[in-house]
Symmetry: D4
Subunit: 255 residues, 8 copies
C-alpha cells in the first residue's frame, strides 16, 4: 500500500535510517494519491479511490463487458462496502448479477442494476426535475432517475411536455422553478431544452436522445439543437446519456 | 381543473372577496389555455386540446413506445370520441391495439393503425397527388395516404415515375396539375421533386426516402437534392416522413 | 419557333404534302410546350414560358453570375414586359443593373433587385406572416418579403421572438393565427419552428439560417431541428433560402 | 396507345376531319415518346420503351420490393420477350422467381437473377476488365459480371491485386491494357483505382465497396479516394454499385 | 401594456361591468407574464423581463448585427438601468458603442463590450475556475471571464495546462478543487476536460475551441471528445462559447 | 538513362563481361519502363513518359503551386515539344506564364493556360456534348472545353437547361443524342444528370459543382445526387472537376 | 516462374542466341520482383513474396470472406511453411479452419486464428506495451497481442487506466517508459493517447475503438481526439484496428 | 521550487521539526516531477521539463498566438539554452521574432522559425525519407524537414512521385528502403501511402494534405484513405501535420 510506503520512507527519514536525498529520489515521480486506489484484475483496474475523491464510487458501464466481467468487478466493489451501479446492462447480465450478489435492484427500462452500499449516500440539496419531451425518451429518464437515487438525490418527473403543445410545459412551470437543477431529455428537434432554459434561472442539463425519423441521425439533430440553444446557460451531455446528466446534476446539488 | 380555478378567481373578484391586485398576482404567469388539455398518464401527457387548436387530435408516434403504452394512450383518446392514428406501429403492437379497441384499421405496408372518431373529419378542398419515383417508395406513400384519409383529404396516386424515364412523369402531367397539393416521394437521387416542382404551379412537398445504394446514406442524398431543388417553392420534410408530408398538405387544403 | 413548326407539319399533312407516318416521325419525341419558351443567350436559356406555366417569370439567382450576365438576362426579361427579380445580387452588380434599366428597386439588406413588370402580379389570398427568432435573421426575412411583394403577396412581420423568452412569441399569437401561411426564420437552435408549428393550424414553412456559434455548422443545426420538428406539418427549405420560402408560400396563397 | 392516337390525329387532319389549330391543341404538351412505354401496375410503371431508347430493358432493383412485386414486374417484362435482370434480390425472392418463370439463372454471390430475352443482346466492342483489390470485393464484381453478360459484353477478371503488393497489379498489366474499359472495384483505401488509372489509357470506372475497418465508413473512404484520384479520367459510381459500373462500361462498348 | 389590460378586466369584473364567463374568455390563452417585457424595435424585441425571470438582463449577441442595431438595443437596455453586455462585437461596432454610451468597457481579446447597470449584480457563491489547455484558447476564456464578472461571479485562471504535460494540471490541483465550478476550455484533442473531470468533485463545464490542425474541423474534434468524456458529470457547451459556459456556471453559483 | 543502362547490362552479358546471375541481380526490382520518364526538378518529377503511355502529356494542376514552379515545369515540358496545359491557374501566374513562354492561350473563365505542342493531338471519334444546368456552372464547363480541345476532341455546348423547366433539355435532345459522350455539369440539386442519363444511350459523365444555397455544402448535394442517379450508367467525377470529366470523355473518344 | 524466365533470357544473351535489343524488349515493362509471388486462386492472388519483402507473410483479413475461401488461402500459405494469421474471423470459420489444418490457435476474444510457420519469427527488439482505457477495449488489445506474438514481439499489458482516474496511468508509468513502443487503445474520449504521449519519449501508436455512447459515432470521436493529440508524435491507425497497430509497432522493433 | 520544497519537508522530518503524519499530508497528492517545470507567464505555462522527459523542449504552435506572445515564450525558452522551434508562424510574427532574438532561421515555405540551442540535438539513428505525391505537398514536407533537423535527424527527399505514374515511385525504391522511417505526404487520393507501405518493411507515417478538388474536403479524403490503407502498419497523423510526423519519426530514430 502506497500511503504506507510513503509513511515508511518518512519514518526512516525521521529515524535517520534514510538520507534526505535518497528519500527525495524514492518519492519523486510518484502520484501519491494513487496509494489506495489501484485494484487490478486481469481486465480492469478498479478506481476505489474515486469514492474518496469525488463522493461516489466507480460506476460500471455495462456495454461491451461480459456478464462475468461485470460480476467480478461488482463483487470487488461490493466487498469494500461501496455501492454498486451498473448502467447499460444487458438483461442476461442483470440476471447473472442478481444471482451472484444479494440486494441487487434491476430496472429493465433504465437498463441498470443497483446495489446499495454500507452507508447511505450523502443527500443532495434540493431536488432535480427530470423533464421529457415524449414517451420514447423515458428509458433515458429512468437511467437518470436511478443514478440520482444512487447518488442521494431526489428527483421529480415532468413527462411528455414537448413544445408542439407549448401549454403543456408552461402548465408545469411551477415544478420546474421549484427544482435546483433541471434535466431536459428530448429527441427529434430537441427544442424543449431551449424553452425550459428560458423559463428557469437554475442550471439546465440537456440530454439528446436517439429517437426519431431519418434525419434525426440517431440523436445528432437534438444534440446540435441543444448545443446551439438560444437560451444561454444550457449545457449538454452525450446522446442518450441519462447517467452523465444525473452525475452532473448531483455534482451541483452536492456543492 | 385550471379553467375552473380561473373562474373561481373571477367569481371571487365579482363577489368582492378578492382584490384586483391579488387576483392579478394569482393569474400572472399562467398559460390559461392549458386548462382543459392536460391528461397525464405516468408516461405521457396527452394534448387533447390539439384537436381544438389545430383541427386534428394528437397522433401517436409508435416507434419507441411499448404496445401497452400505445394501447393506453389510444384508449384515452378514443374515450373522448376523437379519432386515433398511430404511425410507425410494430406488427405486434398493432395486433394488441386491434384486440383492445374496436374498429381499428391496420395498414401493414404503411405501418399505421387508425380508428375513426365520433365525427367525420372536415373535408379538405381539392385533392392531394401522391407521386412516387419507385416501387420501393410505396410504404412512405401509404403512410401519407392513410394520414390524409384520417384528416379528411382525398388522395390520388402517381406511382413509379422516376426521372430516368422522363416521359413517365410527363405522361401523368394532367393528374399533377389537377391536384391542390403534390407530395413527391423519392429515394436515390430524389430528382423527381425538382422536375415536378417545375411542372406545376401548386405547392409541392418533397419526402426523401431511405431506399438506395451506399452513398444514399439512408436518405441523406435525396434529402439534400430536395433541399437544393432548382425548382423554387419545393419544401421538404424529414426522411421517410410520409405522415408529416400529409399533415402539411392537409394544413393547405384546410385553409 | 416550335409551335409554328408543328403548325407547318400539320398544314403539310392537311395539304397532302406530307404523309401521316412521316409526320408522326417528325413530331415524335418533341416536347411541344417548349415551342415558345427557349430564348438562348450564349450563357443562359431563359425560361420565358415559366410565367405561363407557374404564374411568375424566371427569377435570376445572382450568385456566381457576372454583372454583365445579370444585366443581359434582366434586359431580355424586361423587354417582354415581365417583372425582373434578382436574388443574391452583389452590391456592384445591383448598381450596374440600376444604371442599365429604369425602375429597379434595390434592397441592400435582402440583397435583391426588383423591377415591376407591365402587369401587376395576381394578388394572393390572405397574408403571409414572416416570423424571425433574432435580429441576425433579418436579411433572410427581407429576401422573403421582397419576393412575396413581387409575387403579389402581402406580408406581416413578427420579429425577434426566439423561444428563450417564450412569452414573446405567445404575445404575438394573434398575428400568427391571422395569417394564411407562416414563414419561420431561425438560426442557432431553430426551435421557434416547432413552437409556432404547434400554435397555428395553418401551413408553416421553416427557413434555417446560418447564424450562430461553432456547432451551428453554418445552419445545419437549425436545418436538422426543423426537419425533426415535433410539430407535424412543418416543412423546410434550404438554409438562408428566404426566396424559396416565399415562393412556396405564394404557391399556397395563389391556389 | 399514344402513338396510335397521334396517328389518328394526323389521319383526321389528312382527311380534313380536324382543323390544323385543333390538332395543334390536341398535340400540345404531350411527350410523344411516351406512347408505347407506360405499362402501369398498381405499384410500378414499367418503362418498356427503355429497350428502344437505350438498348436494354428496364432492370429491376430488388431491394425494398416484395417477392410478389418482383415476380409480377418480371413476368410483364418477360411477356414482351425482353430479357429480365433483377439485382439485389433476396434469396427467397430469387427462389420465388425461379418457381414462377422458366430459364431464370440465379447468382447467389452477385445477388442477381437473369432470364435471357427472345433476342440475344447486341455484342459490345472489345472486352471489359473487372479488377478487384481483395477477395471481399468479389460480390460486387460478380454483379458487374452478370450485368455485362446480360448486356452482351465480354468480361475478364483480374482478382485480388490490391496495391499493398504493387507487383501483383503490374504483373497483370497486359490484361488491363488489352481491355476496352476497366472496372476497378476496391474497398478500404480504394487506391487501386488511381494506380490502374495511371497504367492504362482506356476508360476506368471505379466502384468503391463497403468492406473494411471502422473509418472506412461503409465505403465513404474509398469513394472519396476514387473521386480524388490523382489519375485523371477515372470516373466513379456509387458504393457497391457493380451494376451501375457495368452499364456505364457497356454504354462505352456499344458506342 | 398587458398587465394593465388584465387589471382593467379585473376592475370591470369587480365593478360588475363584465361577467365572469366573458372575463374568462378575455383572459384565456394569454401569457400574462408577457405584460411588461415586450419592447419592440423594428428589428428586435427586447426581453426586459428576463432580468426578473432569470436574474440577468438580455445579452446582445453582436455577430450578424450592425453597429446601429447594437447601439439602439444597448441604449434601450441602458435606459432602464439594466447592465449591457455585448458579445462577439466587431472592433468598429465597439468603437461606435463607446461613442454613444458612457462607461462602456471594451475587451478586444474577448470581443465584448460591457456597461454596468444601476445596481451591482448579485454575487455568486464561491469562485469559478477558468482552465485553458493552451494559449490559443485565451480569447474564449476572456469571454467567459467578462461574462462572469458581469454576472457577479469571481473567477480564477489556470492557463496553458494541456495534458501533453500532465504535471502542469496536477500542479494546479489545489486551485481546481477550491473552485465551486470549473470551466475547461480546450481545442485540439480536448482531453483536458476528462482529466479535470476526474480530479474534482464539483461541476465541470467544457468548452471546445476551434483552434487546431486540419482534422480538428473547427472544433468538432474537441466537442466530440468532451461529449464522450470518460469522466462522468462533465457537461458541454457549444464551440468557442465562453459566454454560455459562464452563464451556466453562474446559474450554479446563484442557486 | 535507364533503358541505356539495361542495354549496357545486356551488352556486358553478351560480351561475357558480366555473369548471368550478376545481371539478374542488377535487373531485379527495376521498373524498366521508367527508363525515359523521370525528369526531376527540386520540387517536381515530370512524368514525360505519360504522353507515350496515355496519349497526352502530364497536365499541371496550378492550385498550390507558385508561378515560378508552374513556369519551370511548363518550360521543361515545352522543351520536349509536348503541349502544355495548366488548370486552376491564378491570374498572375497566367500572366507570368504568358511572359515566359510564347503561344500561351489563357482562358480566364476556365482558369486555364494552354500552349500547343509540336504535333496536333490525335482527334477523338465523334463529339462531346457539354451540358450545363445553369449559368453559374459555366466556369467548370469552360475548363472541360479547353481540356477537350487540348486532347483533340470537339465539343458542343448545351447551356442552362436545368430540370426546373424540363422542356429546355427536352428541346435539345437531338444535340444530346448526336454526341458520343455527354458531360453533364450541375450544382444545387444535380438532377439534370439523371434526366440526361435517361434520355441518351451513350456514356454520361456527371460533374457536380459547388454553386448553391447553404445545404448544397459546396457541392456535396449534387455529388450525392449524381452518385445515386436512378439512371443507370451515369458516372461521376469530383466536384467542379471539369478537367477530369474531359479526360474521361477523351479516353472514350480515343478508344 | 518469372525469375527463371529472366535467367533464361540472360542465358540466351550470354549464349548469343538472343540479340541485345530483342532481350531489351523482352525485359521491358516487367516488374521483376513479381517473379515468385503470384499464386492465383479463383478468388485471391496470394502475395507469397511479402514474407521476403516485409518480413512477414500475407495476413488473411477474415471479414467478408467465406469459411471456404479462408481455409483455401490458409492452406496455400501453410503449404509453403509460412505462418498463417487470420483476423476478424467468424466463430464458425475458425472452427472450420481448425478442422482443416492442424496447430491452429483460435482466440475468440481477439477473433483471430493463428498457425505457426516452420521457422520462428525474428524476435523484435524490446517490448511493446499495450495500454487500454477500459475493459471494453480488450478485444482490440487482444487482436494486437496475438499479432505481436505472431510477429515475434513481446507484449506487456496495462489495462483499464482511463484518464478519469489519472493516478491509474501515472501509477503504471514505469511500465510505459520501459517499453520500446506503446500502443494506446481507447474509445469514448480517447484522451489516454494524449496523456501517454506526453509521459513517454518512445513511439506511441493510438487505436480508437468503437465503444461508447451515441456521439462517439462508432469511434469517430476518439479517432479525432487522437489525430488532434496535443502530445506531438502520436500516430493513429484505423478504428478498432489492433492488428494494424501491432504491425506498425513491429516494424519499429524490427528496425 | 517544488523539488526544493520536498527537500525542505524531508529535512524538517530529519530534524524532527515535522512529524511523519504531517509530512505525509504535505506530500500527498503532489506530482513531484512537476518541481522544476512550471514557468508561468500570464498567458502560457512553459513545460521546460519536457526536454528532460522527452528529449526535446516544448515547441511553440504559432497559429492563434500573437507575435508578442510568441516572442515572449521564445525568449523564455532561449534563456535556458534550449532550442526554439515555432511552427505555423505568420510572416510578420517571424519578422518580429528575428528582430527580437539572434540566430533565428525562418523557413517561409514551411512557416517555421528555428533557433538552435546551446547543445546540438542528439543525432537519430539512420535517416528519414520524406516522400511527397505532388508539388503542392511541399510546404508540409518542409515543415517536417525543419522539425527533423531540429530534432537531430537527417532527412532525404523523394518528391512528386504520386501513383498516377507508378514507375516514378518504383524508380526511387532504393532510397525508400534505405531509410529508417518513411514519411509519406499526399493530398487528393492519398494512395501513395498504401503503395509505399507495401514496398518497404520499415515504419511508414502518412500525412494527408488539404490540397485538392472539392470532395477532398480539405484533406478528409486522403486522411480516410490512409487510415484505411490496405498496407498494414501504416500510421497516420493529422491533416497537414508535417511537424507531428517528424516528431513521431524522431521518436523512432532515437530509440
Amino acid at each position: 500500500m502506497r500511503r504506507e510506503r510513503v509513511r515508511d520512507v518518512l519514518h526512516q527519514v525521521a529515524d535517520g535510517a534514510l538520507g534526505v536525498s535518497q528519500a527525495l529520489d524514492a518519492l519523486a515521480f510518484e502520484p501519491l494519491d494513487a496509494t489506495q486506489s489501484a485494484d487490478a484484475l486481469a481486465f480492469a483496474t478498479i478506481d476505489h479511490h474515486r469514492a474518496v475523491r469525488q463522493g461516489f464510487p466507480e460506476v460500471i458501464y455495462g456495454a461491451g463487458k461480459s456478464a462475468e466481467q461485470i460480476c467480478e468487478i461488482a463483487s470487488r466493489i461490493a466487498e469494500r462496502g461501496d455501492s454498486v451501479l451498473v448502467t447499460r446492462i444487458a438483461p442476461d447480465a442483470a440476471d447473472r448479477l442478481q444471482a451472484s450478489l444479494d440486494n441487487v435492484e434491476v430496472n429493465r427500462v433504465a437498463r441498470t442494476a443497483y446495489r446499495p452500499g454500507a452507508d447511505r449516500p450523502v443527500p443532495g440539496k434540493g431536488s432535480v426535475a427530470i423533464v421529457t419531451a415524449g414517451t420514447s425518451d423515458i428509458p433515458v429518464a429512468e437511467e437518470a432517475a436511478v443514478t440520482l437515487a444512487a447518488l442521494g438525490d431526489c428527483a421529480t418527473r415532468v413527462t411528455d411536455v414537448g413544445v408542439a403543445g407549448i401549454h403543456r410545459v408552461l402548465a408545469r412551470r411551477a415544478e420546474l422553478t421549484a427544482a435546483s437543477v433541471v434535466i431536459v431529455i428530448a429527441g427529434m428537434d430537441g427544442a424543449l431544452a431551449s424553452v425550459v432554459g428560458g423559463l428557469v434561472a437554475t442550471p439546465v442539463i440537456a440530454v439528446p436522445t436517439s429517437v426519431g425519423y431519418g434525419a434525426s441521425f440517431q440523436g445528432i439533430a437534438p444534440l446540435l439543437t441543444m448545443l446551439n440553444s438560444c437560451a444561454a446557460g444550457v449545457t449538454v451531455v452525450n446522446i442518450d446519456n441519462g447517467f452523465g446528466a444525473a452525475v452532473a446534476a448531483s455534482r451541483i446539488t452536492h456543492l
